[in-house]
Amino acid sequence: MGLTYQSSGKGALREDYLNYNVKGDYVIALAGNPNTGKSTVFNALTGLKQHTGNWPGKTVVQALGNYKHGQKQITLVDLPGTYSLLANSPEEQVARDFICFAEPDATVVVVDATCLERNLNLVLQVLEITHKTIVCLNLMDEARRKKIRIDVPALANQLGVPVIPTAARNGEGLTLLKDTINSVAADKTELTPMRLIYDASLEVAIRELAEELDPLLPPQINRRWIALRLIDGDYTVIDGIRKFLEKKMVKEVFAS
């Protein structure tokens, strides 16, 4: 988080983590490791001036932005930058809860092309939660400068989701990114996300729990992933489910 309109003075008092009752056609989550230029992508897409400092943990204030593309009104949610979504810190928990429970129409994972291995770790974790994922391979200009070559089609093929090379600072690749976001959000892109298969005994445990969870969870929530989190001893996910159910109930009461 930088020192900005949103973070200094009274604005500081106005933000609310889970206040994402926003109107618009699509809600898109923006995730990524720290220092991948995620905020730059956010600014480039929304035309907002959210400040982009170069120090870890600056997006502690969740930012919302809007833009219009292809006749669609899109709300972009800038999640805290994290290495992982295993909820070992408040930021990780916020990012994870949003991706899992806020039901974004797509999640864009901003990836540093110069440091792919570490960044793919997060991509794979996001893919475990939701298949509606787009990889934004950012900092391509820097990768070229460092003579790092990435086989983008092969990566997209392996991950089973779109991979869009960008250099957000120069505006490179952003139109394609916006097109892809619309297409994925409208379910017009075929997605065959890569599945992580754990060892046999863990897989059995996951399957059993997922079956038991099935009748309890709303259809759009990924049972396999919740089961895995519970086995991992990550009970913060329960809070997420509870919050989600409460919100659902509120919505249903208002709808009836």
């Binding site: 290495y83 295993l86 810190s89 291995e117 570490r118 770790n121």
Partner: protein, 81 residues
């Protein structure tokens, strides 16, 4: 990992030296954080620089530079390479 776990930890790596992580001596949330950062057995870590006061030390691991205090780095076992 079939490597032997010796007594060397990240702390004993001199600046410029590299080592392969063999084990973590922490439990609970501390262990989780280290794993998330990529300190997984088999990972190569380079000790890059010490703070002017001698601690913390910055390590290059899986493409990023991460500084750890000796309290944490003394719990990460490595085999120097």
């Amino acid at each position: 990992m079939n490597t032997m776990i010796g007594n060397d930890t990240l702390v004993s790596l001199g600046v410029g030296q590299r080592g392969v992580v063999t084990a973590l001596a922490t439990e609970g949330i501390g262990r989780r954080r280290m794993l998330d950062l990529g300190f997984i057995p088999g990972t190569i870590v380079e000790s890059v620089r010490r703070s002017p006061a001698g601690d913390p030390t910055a390590y290059f691991i899986r493409g990023v530079m991460i500084a750890l205090r000796s309290e944490e780095s003394s719990k990460i076992f490595v085999n120097p390479v």
